[in-house]
Symmetry: C2
Subunit: 97 residues, 2 copies
């Protein structure tokens, strides 16, 4: 199984409402993905100073399923409308579980 | 449930062997943690250029369990020997599942 993790920081224009829409659209997309085991996207809980603002963790059966998600047209459309215009930094890892 | 996510980049002195030891010590600690549901630490799979080098994702029953892990003396000892001396950047989020 391969886990994809991505964390973002946002610019000042990324409102709570946009963040909710971003999470909701990603979560709505997830049942359409083949080989997906688990998908959780959401904002930082505000427990620790200096954290990033938003996390996505997605577990896939294999690398091919992750790459299909990464390149999925609806995923790319969500990225183009939310994370690309508003991310001031992005940190990602894929690792074997 | 609260999920803790942390990603690191390493300096050149963080060898594969040190990375394996870091993952192994964290994984050995995890059964001692109260309120832990899942714990997975490991190196980036090398699928995508520009990624961070290492990920930890830990799921806890509640915020108190996460904070107990964060401040656990054995956890702090592992941090002091591996991630603090070798991390060139660190990105973290805690979020509600």
């Amino acid at each position: 199984m391969i886990r994809h993790v991505v964390l973002f920081t946002w610019d000042d224009e990324m409102t709570d409402e946009l963040e909710r829409q971003f999470a909701a659209e990603l979560t709505t997309l997830s049942p359409k993905l083949s080989g997906l085991r688990a998908y959780h996207a959401g904002p930082d809980a505000g427990l620790v100073d200096g954290n990033f603002d938003f996390a996505v963790v997605a577990d896939f059966d294999d690398v091919a399923s992750y790459l299909a998600y990464r390149d999925h047209p609806e995923h790319q459309d969500i990225i183009a409308r939310y994370s690309r215009p508003h991310a001031t930094s992005r940190a990602a890892v894929q690792y074997e579980l």
